[in-house]
Amino acid sequence: MAALGRQVLDWHRLIPLTWSLIARQTTRPGEQKRTTAFLLRKLTMVSSGGGLGESPSVEPQKYAQEPEHRTGLTQCLLEKQRTAVEREKVVSSLLDMGFSDVHVNELLSIQPGTHPQQLLDIISELILLGLNPEPVCVALKKSPQLLKLPVMHMKKRSSYLRKLGLGEGKLKRVLYCCPEIFTMRQRDIESIVGVLKEKCLFTVKQVTEILHRCPCVLREDPGELEYKFQYAYFRMGIKHVDVVKTDFLQYSMTKTKERHVFLERLGRYQTPDKKGQTLVPNPLLKDILRVSEAEFLAKTACSSAEEFGVFKELLAREEEESEGRMADAGSPEEAGP
């Protein structure tokens, strides 16, 4: 009885919220409608009944005439009550966290099969990591598979990300570009971080910065990531600070090589010597990698699209052949003057 009483009180508290939920209700098929209808019925019974104490007793009285259905239906209804109650708890928590009603609707409908508590737990972790409500919604809509993650895994991963310095709002960009940061294996993240710290010798702060700005590095093969760094550092003479600042690691190796080698052979880019000097100033990295191809050709390379097109083909072939270490298959016997 006491338990039921508590339940009644809960209901009492929830009624205004439920009203608002119903009031804003757009047509939502399935379970939602049934739950709403059920809640509505409860509501009208309460308001017309006058006594709150009456409502719980309505059920048994109503079904008094049909004893054979009582167990199954009661269980079903109690089930529904429980789910509905939990759901309402979750909704209230979400609203407390700062989600708008619209957000709450969206979140609840991303994966209708998700248990509300599961939803809340996952969302809570994201909020605790410093994400704002709007980004959480966007991220979850984009990657609903996140809702399926076991909560323990979620907690562990969150704490690891905090250790990496990716709490307090830094996570937003990472989550947008690379939602796998939660689903991928711990050791895969560790191997990327390991490459950056031990092989490339970035500082801890720089590693955080890289993960924050170029989350796609998490998807790369560790060996290729290391090669990319070595290309920047040794071949192009770019220092650690600039590798981070210019988001060098996000560009594909092919694109970087094409543009860099083109400039180098044109004589417009020179690898700095031991003292870090070049005969002519090198173009800024942003003018090499960040700009569109058209702007790169017009401003930096000062060359034509057709020449660059041919160059790309020749370079691709050179790369292929040096990799395969093929003996020059099609070369002539002699190129004669």
Binding site: L314, P332, E333
Partner: protein, 384 residues
């Protein structure tokens, strides 16, 4: 007495280079992080950056990137093999005969509507040359040449620009021809392909290179043709030809040793930009003048000479031509006239990229769309 001797020895030792270099400036191997190894190919590039950026200005970057990237080849069809079948096969690959296209489609508006007006004899191209290339911007490669059923190779892969000096020389049937610096033999082979040579003298100073030339001729030209053309291969000093065989030849090709610009950027072995060959390199223009002079002296009055190099350098190209003409006028009282190749250049403009501002002669410059050359050539007529 001993003191005097001692002093003498000390002086002698001082004179040796090693002792005169202050100790602090000698290379200290144990402190150097790397040996001062600067590959010759890199020295070559430095040299070119210095000279050609001035000589070519804004054109230099596009030439530079082309020189450093894979060059384009032409397939010179061997007329002594089944050339019509070979031509058809090459066309199947989407290559086309640029010589044919230039001569028969390159003519400006014909006078009276005829499609192939024969050009005047003075600037006729050497006949019977068929050379296939892929279209502009097409980087396909030719398969390696194969031995045909007649026992000779089907085509010879070469820089298509190398054919231009031979085309410009304008051989005519029955000509006596001299190729003064013939090795490794691409241009010599082309001369034979014309079918015009009554005699062909092919010479190269280096015996090993002359050997390579022999091999090329053996692989491409059947014995009876070599006999008929009276092909003679020698390895004498080309500078002596004026004395050896003066005033004899109708057509002379002087394809001189030069800094082989493209080759020097890629091959380290025997590279002329090695520090040890600096003197030799600096003496090149003088050697080139001597060779061109010899070639002109070996030409009969009224005969023609083509001078060619595979370098971009003014000093090895126009400078040598102008210097030699002056030399011949002053020292030998021989008048030499430079022929204008403007019309010739226009015929081949679609296939090659030409430098627009040569004082004398023509220069094919490498371009990624047509990565042939460098090839400089200048045609002269010995008037007296």
């Amino acid at each position: 007495m001993a003191a005097l001797v001692g002093r003498g020895v000390r002086d002698m030792l001082k004179r040796a280079d090693f002792m005169t270099v202050p100790r602090r400036q000698r290379h200290k191997k144990k402190w150097a992080a790397t040996e001062p190894k600067f590959p010759a190919t890199r020295l070559a590039l430095q040299n070119f950056d210095m000279t050609y950026s001035v000589q070519f200005g804004d054109l230099w970057p596009s030439i530079r990137v082309s020189l450093l990237s894979e060059q384009k080849y032409g397939a010179l069809v061997n007329n002594f093999a089944a050339w019509d079948r070979v031509s058809a096969e090459l066309e199947q690959l989407s290559a086309r005969d640029f010589v044919n296209e230039a001569i028969f489609h390159g003519e400006p508006e014909p006078e009276n509507g005829q499609t192939a007006a024969p050009p005047p004899a003075s600037w006729a191209c050497s006949p019977n040359l068929r050379c296939f290339t892929f279209a502009r911007g097409d980087v396909s490669r030719f398969p390696p040449a194969r031995l045909g059923s007649l026992g000779v190779m089907d085509y010879y892969l070469m820089d298509a620009a190398s054919l231009l000096p031979v085309l410009a020389l304008g051989l005519q049937p029955g000509d006596t021809v001299l190729d003064l610096c013939a090795a490794p033999g691409g241009k010599t082979l082309a001369l034979l392909q014309t079918g015009c040579c009554r005699n062909l003298a092919a010479n190269d100073l280096s015996t090993s290179r002359a050997g390579r030339l022999q091999k090329v001729l053996h692989s491409y030209v059947p014995q009876d043709v070599r006999d008929r053309n009276r092909v003679r291969v020698t390895s004498w000093d080309g500078r002596k030809w004026g004395e050896l065989e003066g005033d004899i030849y109708d057509r002379v090709l002087v394809d001189v040793p030069c800094t082989t610009d493209r080759h020097s950027l890629h091959e380290e072995e025997n590279n002329i930009f090695q520090r040890s060959r600096k003197k030799e390199r600096q003496m090149l223009p003088m050697l080139q003048v001597q060779l061109l002079a010899a070639g002109l002296l070996a030409t009969k009055p009224g005969g023609h000479v083509v001078y060619s190099t595979c370098s971009l350098s003014h000093l090895q190209n126009e400078y040598v031509v102008q210097g030699t003409i002056e030399l011949l006028a002053n020292q030998y009282d021989i008048k030499v006239h430079v022929e204008d190749l403007t019309h010739f250049r226009k015929l081949f403009m679609d296939t090659f990229s030409f430098f627009p501002s040569c004082q004398v002669g023509e220069l094919v410059i490498p371009n990624l769309m047509a990565n042939f050359g460098p090839m400089y050539f200048c045609k002269m007529c010995r008037m007296t």
